[in-house]
């Protein structure tokens, strides 16, 4: 019990942070190293303080708590706290370290902290895997993609995306002036991007159909989707069929 654990509180409402801070006073082996009011600050703080645990609100400006967790690869245990959220039930089912529904009392909070400490002492790794599966199981369509470029968060609106390319266990997301690596599968994007705009035209490509300028023949069986002068993507036969169906040509 001699270990001191570093904790981070992330919530956009100051009073909501205060309540966690005051509940934590009883826990002498937990030290609050920083408070953040949004995802951007939180990412910086995680790099700087390397916290063991984090209390994380979900509904926050610009980047949600769930989106933030997608891009944090440091090992940090997370307890979500939120008022009312469609993810609540799912997260319970998928046993995230814990999930606090606001308002919560000190006893309920204590249970969550006990669980955190137990996991830290038994040396369990971060719950990254679980976060991913929360998102993967959700049937909601994406409205934006959050990625990390260096140590900064970037929010990519869907209409900025040209196409997504498969790269082993990762995907590369291309916009007109940049590209971003993201640890997700092609299948995930195929399932979670709005199907009226994004189509898997090839084993390696999901493309934003609005960005296709034209199709040109490549060889007998395949076509090329022209995005720009220097960017032409192969279209498989099934991909061509899907395009034809969607664009009705």
């Amino acid at each position: 019990m001699s270990n001191i654990y570093r904790a981070l509180i992330v919530d956009d409402e100051p009073l909501a942070r205060n309540i966690i801070k005051s509940y934590l006073k009883r826990w002498e082996n937990i030290e609050v190293v920083d408070e953040c009011s949004n995802g951007f600050e939180a990412l910086k703080s995680v790099k700087e303080y390397k916290p063991h645990l984090m209390f994380l609100d979900i509904q926050m400006p610009k980047v949600t708590g769930l989106e933030l967790m997608e891009v944090i690869d440091d090992p940090v245990l997370v307890v979500f706290s939120t008022a009312y959220d469609q993810y609540a039930l799912k997260a319970f089912e998928l046993n995230a370290v814990d999930y606090l529904l606001k308002p919560f009392n000190e006893k309920r909070f204590g249970d969550a902290v006990k669980k955190l400490i137990q996991k830290l002492e038994t040396g369990e790794k971060s719950n990254q895997q679980q976060i991913n599966s929360i998102q993967e199981q959700s049937e909601e369509k994406l409205e934006r993609i959050v990625v990390k470029k260096g140590n900064k968060l970037e929010v990519i609106p869907l209409e900025d995306i040209l196409y997504i390319e498969a790269q082993d266990d990762y995907v590369m997301i291309y916009t007109s002036d940049a590209h971003f690596l993201k640890a997700k599968t092609m299948k995930y994007f195929e399932d979670h991007l709005p199907p009226e705009n994004f189509i898997r035209i090839h084993r390696s490509y999901v493309v934003n159909v609005e960005k296709i300028k034209q199709l040109e023949p490549y060889n007998k069986d395949t076509q090329l989707a022209v995005i720009s002068k220097d960017c032409k993507l192969k279209v498989s036969r099934t991909g061509y069929k899907k395009l034809k169906e969607l664009l009705d040509f």
């Binding site: 009073l15 909501a16 309540i19 951007f40 400006p61 009312y84 209409e159």
Partner: protein, 352 residues
């Protein structure tokens, strides 16, 4: 309205069969009365009834378009004149066509004076029958349409009531406010009590929404003020508000809880999505006897670009205004240069 005969192939077939039968009957009657060659008998039945076949279809249009608002006498005269013209044309055209293939002597037999009278009577009878049938159809269609629009209106009403009920309590707002109170009880119990009072008053006012009535503007603004104060406790410096309301507007009336969604919208898309402070500004004025209210807030354009869907709340307001005032142009939305503005225009005369 669609043509009752042509538009439905089943009825059109039936209509055709009826006219074939009438044509046969016509020829039979000719045969019984006159001692004529077969060719003329058949031609007579065929020509006149084919003509009426087409004329009959066109009678639908006077029935559809004759202006009934000018009184019964006028309507009657219009139909009488149309009838005389139609029957006259029918006889003239029929005879002209028959003259192509038959001699004058032959035709004189079937066009003697008595035959003319019978033909006129039959033509007039057919004309009247058409008018009657078309009228019945039109009456039935109009009744049906009336029922349908009534039903649609009822459905809309039910839907909007349901939506109103759903949006009455915003759970996100409620639970977060309770959480703030929970935090305040630790640090500052006076503030906590104050917040509970505000929240209670706000909830009590929200429950009035079910009574479809109008209230003076000052009541609505007082409630909005309570709502904003609660949100300011939650968000601290991130939310500020100003209002510019001339006292002459205070007693103008508007439907209860019609302003609330405007502010919830400003908080949801302004404060929730922005790390910068958001200012919500209220302007009211009297415009040509109506009350005009504008709610303006700044917002983070970059953040909202990646977030779709705006204002189920605003749609509800638009629906309610349509139900109460029967107008669709009372709510306008304006979005430019990082500012979002919603304006309501509330008529003061025709409100319930």
């Amino acid at each position: 309205m669609i043509h009752p005969i042509v538009s439905q192939s089943r009825i059109f077939k039936f209509y055709t069969v009826v006219w074939v039968l009438i044509a046969v009957l016509h020829s039979l009657v000719d045969w019984l009365i006159y001692d004529l060659n077969l060719k003329l008998l058949i031609a007579d039945g065929l020509v006149f009834n084919s003509l009426m076949f087409f004329i009959g279809l066109s009678i639908w249009y006077p029935v559809l378009y004759i202006d009934k608002n000018k009184g019964q006498w006028n309507t009657f005269m219009q139909f009488l004149i149309a009838g005389i013209v139609i029957v006259g044309l029918w006889l003239l055209m029929g005879k002209l066509i028959l003259q192509f293939s038959f001699s004058k002597e032959e035709l004189d037999i079937i066009f003697n004076q008595r035959a003319y009278i019978i033909r006129i009577v039959v033509g007039a009878f057919q004309y009247l029958l058409f008018v009657l049938i078309y009228y019945m159809f039109k009456f039935y269609e109009e009744l049906d349409e009336k029922n349908r629009s009534q039903e649609k209106l009822n459905r809309l009403l039910r839907e909007s009531e349901l939506k109103a009920l759903k949006s009455q309590l915003n759970p996100h707002f409620l639970f977060n406010s309770l959480n703030s109170i929970s935090a305040l009880t630790i640090s500052n119990s006076d503030d906590a009590r104050e917040m509970i009072n505000k929240l209670s008053e706000f909830l009590r006012y929200s429950l009035k929404k079910n009574e479809e009535k109008v209230l003076p503007l000052k009541e609505e603004l007082k409630n909005v003020e309570r709502y904003l104060e609660i949100e300011k406790v939650r968000f601290g410096d991130r939310l500020t508000s100003t209002s510019d309301v001339p006292s002459t507007c205070y007693d103008m009336v508007l439907p209860v809880m019609i302003l609330q969604p405007l502010y919830e919208n400003a908080v949801k898309y302004g404060v929730y999505e922005s790390v910068e402070p958001v200012e919500i500004r209220t302007f009211c004025r009297c415009l040509e006897g109506d009350l005009e209210i504008s709610v303006v807030n700044n917002f983070d354009e970059e953040a909202l670009r990646s977030r779709k869907g705006e204002g189920v709340g605003l749609d509800n307001v638009r629906d309610r205004l349509r139900l109460v005032y029967g107008r669709t142009d009372l709510l306008t939305v304006n979005k430019e240069n990082g500012y979002f503005e919603v304006s309501l225009r509330i008529p003061q005369k025709n409100s319930k």
